[in-house]
């Protein structure tokens, strides 16, 4: 039971990780002058879009999403629209947080917002996929005893890693090295992506390692 779940998670994570890799490589073939630094926004939206699509697809196929009580169409549409709204709100929330952290308010607002979109894709979207548009459940998941399945634990790990990665990504910005990746927000987006990838790798490993200690209450 454990092994099956962990293996399933590892393969799902591998697919998502490879998506990020593909989103970096494939546009380079089709687009001229594509590079991570040079056309950063294009890269960012490639990664964000592909991660969003693949995440949704993977979790839908695996059937991880919380079981819906009502199966009517209107209910589904309601859920979908709520999810979209939450995603947008989370983008705004991340944007505000990033600005509060010291990002410029007016100039390069687009870049800041793109970072917020990327962060939302890496964190909120997974919450939406796994827990549905239920803020109570989100808050619950991020407490010590809140995880109710391996997927919740993996959500904790990947979200934490992405946010910490973005946070760490801000560190090189003030240094006077004049490198292309010190331009706002490249180091932060790279940090978030790296953190996310680390989380994808770390989650199955960590769960495997601690499978004896982990006890989940039944849903």
């Amino acid at each position: 039971m454990w092994d099956v779940e962990i293996r399933g998670m590892a393969s799902a994570h591998a697919i998502i990780a490879s998506t990020i890799f593909m989103a970096t490589v494939i546009p380079a073939v089709f687009l001229e002058n594509f590079s991570v630094y040079g056309t950063h926004m294009v890269w960012l939206y490639c990664v964000a879009g592909s991660v969003a699509v693949v995440n949704t697809a993977v979790f839908w196929l695996l059937g991880i999403s919380p079981p819906t009580k009502k199966n009517t169409l209107s209910y589904k549409i309601n859920r979908l629209s709520r999810s979209c709204l939450y995603f947008l709100l989370s983008c705004l929330f991340f944007h505000t947080v990033v600005v509060m952290y010291g990002a410029p308010l007016l100039e390069s607002a687009l870049e800041t917002f793109s970072l917020a979109v990327l962060l939302s894709t890496l964190t909120t979207l997974r919450c939406l996929c796994i827990l549905g548009p239920n803020v109570q459940a989100w808050i619950r998941v991020f407490s010590r005893d809140g995880a109710m399945s391996v997927w919740d634990t993996s959500l904790q790990i990947t979200t934490g890693c992405s946010v910490i990665g973005a946070w760490l990504g801000a560190f090189p910005i003030p240094l006077d090295w004049d490198r292309p990746w010190q331009v706002w927000p490249i180091s932060c987006t790279l940090g978030a992506t790296t953190g996310f990838l680390t989380g994808l790798v770390a989650a199955p490993v960590w769960i495997h390692w601690h499978r004896k200690q982990l006890t989940y209450k039944l849903k």
Partner: protein, 1074 residues
């Protein structure tokens, strides 16, 4: 409450820190006093002797000079080795120097030119114009501008009417404002720009030389230095740059006239990586090339040629060759080969070697006498030796001249020796780091930080057992022993080593004694790896990078923001932020009792609201920062300029209104808080100061701002009145605030006792009195905050259970308003009064910053209080222990508001205007303006340091809310709001908590000092050491010193309150129980 051990421990820790700072700074910062006297032509006359007379009048050896300074022209760059077939990029690129020196030996010489550390460009320019040994801090120098006030060559040349034309590095213009006949400065700031300065010079130097509007031409090329910093010497760009310089020298030589001297020199060398600043030979050895179209030197081999020319020697040489007096503070020695020997007078107008040396000796001796009268840093024994030498030389020379024959060769040698000895003596005391002192200071500081940590962990032990007695005594003994030893062996005392020995021995002894006391597991890594300490570690690490120091304001804000956001995240992780859903069947083992969910929800909301306030004030305060010159495109905050400088009258009015509103808010919030907790009901002097002095001071300040903001020409008729108001309004404010502080100290109690029964009928038959710490005077409020148990406990402990009374009447006989905040109210009032006084020293717009500071401090306190309440059941911390997170936040907030009040850790950014608040005419002494400027600079450190004990009180102050709702939820009635009276119930834990808090705060600040000391020690060769790290060290260390004093003041205030609370209870109890 145990007062003495707490105070002794704190004072001891602080003094140990001070000794560490003192030792390190003594070894690292070379300090020299500036002598503000200038030489004149009349000085060089030797009275009674028939020497040449006033040599300024006689024709000098050269009429003009061209000085080409090639920054960082290392000695190696100028050597030419024809056998080297594969030269490196920096080798053999300046053949012109070698060519000239070998083909025209009587016209050209190439020397190694040795600079003195610090080998930074600004210090070097000062060095080879004043002839002195500039240190990092030349006391007497006005920090606000870099202008050289000491006597120097440029000044002397100007005095005799020479036209000095300057072009190149714009540092010169700030060093010599308005001294040049003509100047063409080019920006030197961008190290990556190799060509702007050099090309600017090249466009102008030849036309200027061919014209006739100059006597001395100084050109300072920066390309070589910038090339070194950017690429290092071993790079093709360096070859290109040096070849360009070769061409420049050739073209200049072609254009030289016979009466012109050419000097080509480097100000310092560079290391293999292209840096400079330190004292290694690669950095100090530059090149010096002298050339003239007419014969300049005697034939080679006729006399001893110096191997190496010290940089100071250029000044007297140039001065005498150009016929100006040697600058007053020069300690250089004339370069003898440029002067004709005795007897063989080659040039008819020149001074002979002996004459030049005599003038030089006279000048150096005059300087030495003046300097040794001003400062005591030259060792007395070498000073007396030098004096003896001089009188010897003087008598010999004058005798020789009197008899009319030439001074002997021995006399020339002894004059040279004298000059060398003076120079070496000065060098030893000014221009050398003292690595032993630096290491000792570093060691003591490191151990002090450890000490602070240990005291904070073992505070309950430290206050009880006499742990401190032995270390302090042994420290004193060690210090005395070292002092006696020094007196015995050397004959004089070096205070720093005695202090160092004393503090180190006491520290080590203390640590050794606590080794056994410390419980096991306390020193585990997990205790140190809390996120708060991680943030502190990041903060310390950031002090080691120049970029992070430059952007310090943002870095601190970033870290503070992170730490504040961490608190609710952590609480949520522990499942404490959100009330547990009622349907969940929680296993009872997890949480024995939970707070009612309504309380949790309210506390969580309050926490998030205050987090919002915190974030908002952090963000707004970012817009109040000043800018460093390194920060490129940054614009200083418009609120930083005084109102009188704002041109637009509408904008000025807006700023004024904003400032006054902030000021009023500051006063209102304080008053509101005090009234809310019932501290304004009694009739003590403190309440008087809170109710009347505080608003009055605010009004005075508002008026003062209005007066000082009026443009000078609008009310001409009232100008006298305005002048008077500018003197008296700020002084009145200071007096009011000072009076308030004094009253606060005299009677800090703000407790109002209200008896239900008439006073005269008090007797033994009365029901047992009860006290309540009321927060208000409304009847509803009276029902809350009873402290019945408290009274019983205190009475039992004092009276030893003499009276046993039944508790028949539940209504209290005596109520005490404001008892619940008896400790924090005076402290808040103290902060408020101090804050107003400090605000007065700032530009008006900074009132906004001070309001934000108040809000942010309140936010830190409330977040701390809420998280304590929320986690109170989670971890059972009896005792009053303040966790690391709020302490680190508190200290970061102090650092953040240092920046948000417009300060920067650089000397030019010091707000000198503070010295003239209330003293527009200036001062006579220096103590008052210096203390005003210090108070202004460290105001945020001061406010946060004084308010530090609030971190201990706040969870208790905010406790009311929790229990009140417990009551409403129908919980047991006996749990009454005790608030700060809890502290009195537990005096031992109170004192240990207070000591722990203060030790933690000192640890957090001390760790930052330690980090910046490390930065200065490790990076002393760094390009930015004198621009970034050394000033940062100075500010951090002074901030620590000021802050720690005010921490002790805050703790002393708490103790003062405790004493009067004790007095109150003592007074009450006999009255009521008799």
């Amino acid at each position: 409450m145990r007062r003495l051990p707490v105070l002794v421990a704190l004072i001891w820790v602080c003094s140990v820190f001070y000794v560490g700072i003192f030792l390190f700074v003594g070894g690292f910062l070379l300090v020299r006093l500036e002598v503000n006297r200038t030489s004149t032509c009349a000085d060089v006359l030797s009275p009674g002797a028939q020497v040449k007379g006033d040599f300024c009048l006689s024709e000098p050896r050269f009429r003009r000079a061209v000085v080409l300074i090639i920054d960082a022209l290392k000695a190696d760059f100028t050597r030419y080795d024809p056998e080297n077939t594969a030269p490196k990029p920096f080798e053999n690129k300046l053949p012109v120097l070698d060519e000239m020196a070998s083909s025209h030996p009587s016209q050209a010489r190439l020397y190694t030119f040795r600079a003195d550390p610090p080998t930074t460009t600004m210090q070097r320019i000062k060095g080879f114009t004043t002839g002195s040994l500039p240190t990092f801090i030349d006391v007497g120098n006005n920090f606000a501008s870099n202008a050289i006030l000491e006597d120097n060559l440029v000044h002397q040349l100007g005095q005799v009417g020479k036209r000095v034309v300057f072009m190149g590095d714009d540092t010169w213009v700030s060093l010599f404002p308005k001294k040049f006949h003509k100047s063409l400065p080019f920006p030197s700031f961008n190290v990556k720009d190799l060509h702007t300065v050099d090309n600017g010079i090249l466009q102008n130097i030849y036309p200027t030389m061919e014209g006739d509007d100059w006597d001395v031409l100084i050109a300072h090329f920066l390309g070589v230095d910038h090339c070194g910093h950017r690429f290092g010497p071993d790079h093709p760009a360096m070859a290109e740059k040096l070849s360009q310089m070769d061409g420049v020298i050739r073209s200049v030589i072609k254009r030289l006239k016979n009466d012109t001297l050419l000097v080509v020199m480097g100000d310092h060398g560079m290391t293999d990586t292209g840096d400079h600043g330190g004292e290694s030979q690669k950095e100090t050895d530059a090149a010096l090339f002298l050339y003239s179209s007419s014969p300049l030197f005697s034939a080679p081999g006729s006399q001893v040629e110096p191997e190496v020319v010290p940089q100071t020697d250029l000044v007297p040489t140039l001065a005498l060759l150009l016929g100006v007096p040697i600058p007053y503070s020069s300690v250089g020695q004339v370069l003898l080969p440029l002067f004709p020997q005795n007897g063989s007078r080659g040039a008819p107008t020149g001074l002979s070697q002996a004459e030049a040396l005599w003038i030089n000796v006279k000048q150096v001796n005059r300087f030495l006498e003046t300097y040794s009268n001003m400062a005591k840093d030259i060792p007395p024994d070498s000073l007396s030796q030098l004096r003896a030498d001089f009188s010897n030389i003087s008598s010999q020379y004058l005798a020789a001249v009197h008899k009319g024959h030439l001074p002997s060769h021995e006399l020339v040698v002894s004059m040279q020796n004298y000059l060398t000895a003076v120079r070496e003596t000065c060098r030893a005391s000014w221009a050398r780091f003292n690595p032993f002192k630096m290491a000792a200071g570093l060691l003591i500081l490191g151990v002090s930080c450890m000490l602070c940590y240990v005291i904070s962990e073992l505070s309950h032990v430290v206050i009880q057992e006499g742990l401190l007695k032995l270390p302090i005594l042994s420290g004193l003994v060690a210090g005395l022993v070292v002092a006696a030893g020094q007196l015995f062996t050397q004959g004089y005392l070096e205070l720093s080593w005695c202090l160092g020995a004393a503090s180190l021995s006491s520290e080590v002894l203390f640590l050794w004694r606590t080794r056994g006391v410390s419980p096991r597991g306390r020193w585990s890594a997990s205790g140190l790896l809390t996120p708060a300490l991680l943030v502190l570690f990041l903060r310390c690490a950031s002090l080691l990078s120049d970029s992070y120091v430059i952007y310090e304001g943002h870095v601190v804000t970033f870290l503070l923001f992170t730490l504040s956001v961490y608190v609710p995240l952590r609480l949520n992780w522990d499942g404490l932020l959100v009330p547990l859903p009622p349907d969940t069947q929680k296993p009872p083992r997890l949480l024995p009792t939970t707070l009612p969910s309504s309380v949790v929800r309210r506390e969580a909301t309050i926490l998030l609201v205050w987090l919002g306030v915190m974030v908002g004030s952090l963000y707004l305060s970012l817009s109040l920062h000043n800018c460093r010159e390194e920060q490129g495109t940054c614009q200083p905050s418009p609120f930083l300029s005084p109102l009188s400088r704002v041109q637009d009258s509408q904008l000025r009015n807006l700023h004024y209104v904003l400032s006054v509103v902030s000021l009023a808010m500051w006063g209102y919030l304080l008053h509101r808080w005090l009234r809310h907790y019932g501290n304004l009901n009694c009739s003590s002097v403190t309440v008087f100061s809170a109710c009347f002095l505080l608003p009055l001071a605010c009004v005075c300040m508002g008026l003062h701002w209005a007066v000082s903001a009026t443009p000078e020409d609008t009310f001409r008729s009232l100008s006298e009145l305005i002048g008077l108001a500018q003197v008296f309004l700020p002084r009145a404010t200071f007096c009011l605030l000072g009076l308030g502080l004094l009253l606060l100290w005299i009677d800090p109690m703000t407790v109002f006792l209200k008896s239900r029964t008439p006073l005269n009928s008090r007797g033994t038959s009365l029901p047992p009195p009860k006290y309540r710490a009321s927060t208000g005077i409304s009847p509803q409020a009276e029902l809350h905050h009873l402290i019945p148990q408290l009274y019983q406990r205190i009475r039992h402990s004092l009276e030893d259970g003499v009276t046993e009374c039944g508790e028949a009447d539940s209504r209290p006989a005596v109520e005490a308003y404001g008892l619940g905040t008896v400790y924090s109210a005076p402290l808040i009032l103290l902060c408020g009064l101090l804050g107003l006084a400090l605000l007065l020293l700032h530009p008006e717009g900074m009132a906004l910053a001070f309001l934000l500071l108040l809000l942010e401090a309140a936010a830190v306190l409330h977040i701390h209080a809420c998280s304590t309440t929320l986690s109170s059941l989670h971890k059972h911390s009896n005792g009053f222990s303040v966790p690391w997170a709020p302490v680190v936040s508190w200290s970061l907030a102090a650092a953040q508001f240092f920046h948000a009040t417009g300060h920067l850790p650089t000397f030019p950014s010091i707000q000198w205007g503070a010295a003239f608040v209330g003293f527009p005419q200036g001062h006579t002494g220096t103590a008052l303006p210096a203390s005003l400027v210090t108070l202004n600079t460290f105001s945020s450190h001061i406010i946060f340091a004084v308010g530090c004990p609030l971190l201990l009180f706040w969870p208790l102050v905010c406790e009311v809310r929790g229990t009140r709702s417990t009551r409403s939820a129908g919980a047991e009635e006996s749990e009454d709001a005790v608030m700060e009276m809890r502290l009195r119930e537990n005096p031992q834990k109170f004192s240990s908590g207070l000591l722990q808090l203060a030790a933690r705060y000192l640890f957090v600040n001390g760790a930052q000092v330690f980090a910046s000391v490390c930065a200065a020690a490790i990076l002393r060769r760094h390009l930015m050491v004198w621009k970034v790290f050394a000033p940062k060290l100075m500010f951090e260390a002074s901030g620590f010193i000021v802050g720690s004093m005010f921490v002790i003041l805050g703790v002393a205030m708490v103790m003062r309150v405790d004493m009067s609370v004790g007095g109150l209870f003592k007074k009450l109890l006999p009255q009521n129980s008799r």
